[in-house]
Symmetry: C2
Subunit: 237 residues, 2 copies
DNA sequence: ACAAAAGTGTTCAGCCTACACCCATGG
DNA sequence: CCATGGGTGTAGGCTGAACACTTTTGT
């Protein structure tokens, strides 16, 4: 857990925050990493330093929470409504004693109206050991179709990311970090069905994927379950 | 021309600006509205008021420059690099005497690092009589493939919008405000070719468009040029 | 009548779809 | 040897590309 002792508001772009929807694939479901403060959950987020690009700020959030650099990270959307003024909500969860021990030059730093720039990242859940920061009390991976109560409009942000994922996989087919480096066609097939929330013909799927010429066949996998052993594939370099 | 006498920096979200690429279709080319300050051009833009959503700020810019409300306006992208610090450039064009007569409580208001949220709008050029604001000296519609020297990274923003237009017309086919309410298929064909920068088979085009069932055929157009008179169409309500 | 412009038809290839069938493996 | 699951084949339908043909109209 990171130790922060003071915040100088002038180091950051005011009233601008960055939230990152960190998603992975586990147990046949798309999951996203959420943090708990009090009785509700929220997205990992942060602020943009004066000397930092917005993109870098998002990378920092991702790195802080996952320990990993250079993951698949893309811009999602701007959340900039005027009624996006969650003063009461923020004040509620800012009653945290951890916060009281931190020096902040600007007492309203947290409670102003913010414009949020959201990003989304795809990661390998098994490779990640999330870290708590100074305000959040717990982390957990949630199935994006079974989200808990969340602070502010963070549920909207997650759902936006979840929909974007559909467009992405339709265009790119590939898995980024949602599958291990080597994977089987049935696994890829399963992933596509879960993301698109629709059944896809197995035969057509295999042929369409191989026709893209993006995948490379490797030796067969030894299996323990009954039935024919599938080939392994990887994304061509 | 709008008269501004003073600026209170606290009324706006700091270090956040909104630029709008206003595009139209005229003389067989996609054009965009630019403003001149000194010897270079820039996009119409503005800031986000504290009580205003980002979207509303973009609408204001559009309305201020075109006099029209409710035009087709969509989010484009974030421009948020850390080296996006155009202090020298801003200072150069802020030597404008018009600015000296305006009271600003924060002398650095214009010259800080900004994160820009860009939007793009599609308008009917012939319906618009652009207005100058307090800093810009001249407005002009430029063919997006023949842009002049521009301030900061505004040329990148225009090119991003120009590319986005391709995706949009591929998905939606329709014209928004780029053609008059009633138009001919040859005109629509021409527009698609210009936007996509590629020749499209005339026959295929007509059939594909009619197959979408988005268009409604109206009585024929009386023409003056030689050749058969085309039908008029409009987008179905 | 002719050229130019708009609208329609025809053919062919390729792709998507659905389903059937064949292979490999563990119990 | 059969149930299970992976891989491949095929017939039918749809769609898109290219090009030919017909219709309309000004000169």
């Amino acid at each position: 857990m990171k130790r922060i002792t003071s915040i100088n508001s002038k180091d950051f772009l005011p009233q601008l925050s960055v939230d990152v929807v960190i998603m992975g694939y586990q147990d046949g479901a798309i999951k996203c990493l959420l943090l708990r403060i009090k009785d509700k959950w929220l997205l990992p987020g942060g602020y943009v330093e004066q000397k930092q690009s917005v993109e870098e700020a998002a990378e920092s959030v991702l790195e802080l929470r996952t320990g990993l650099k250079g993951q698949h990270l893309k811009f999602l959307a701007v959340f900039g409504s005027a009624d996006r003024d969650f003063k009461k909500e923020r004040e509620a969860f800012l009653e945290n004693p951890a916060l009281k021990s931190i020096e902040i030059d600007d007492p309203d730093f947290f409670s102003r109206r913010y414009v949020t720039l959201s990003y989304y990242a795809l990661v390998d859940i098994d490779k990640i050991h999330p870290e708590l920061s100074f305000l959040d009390e717990e982390w957990q991976w949630f199935d994006v179709s079974k989200l808990p109560d969340m602070w502010m409009d963070h549920k909207d942000i997650v759902m936006t990311a979840r929909e974007r994922l559909k467009d992405d996989i339709r265009q790119e087919h590939i898995t980024h970090n949602l599958l291990p480096e080597q994977f089987t066609m049935p696994a890829l097939h399963q992933l596509h069905q879960v993301i698109l929330e629709t059944p896809i013909d197995r035969s057509r799927f295999q042929k369409t994927m191989l026709a893209t010429d993006k995948f490379e066949r490797l030796p067969k996998l030894k299996k323990d379950s009954p039935g024919r052993s599938p080939y392994l594939y990887r994304v061509k370099p």
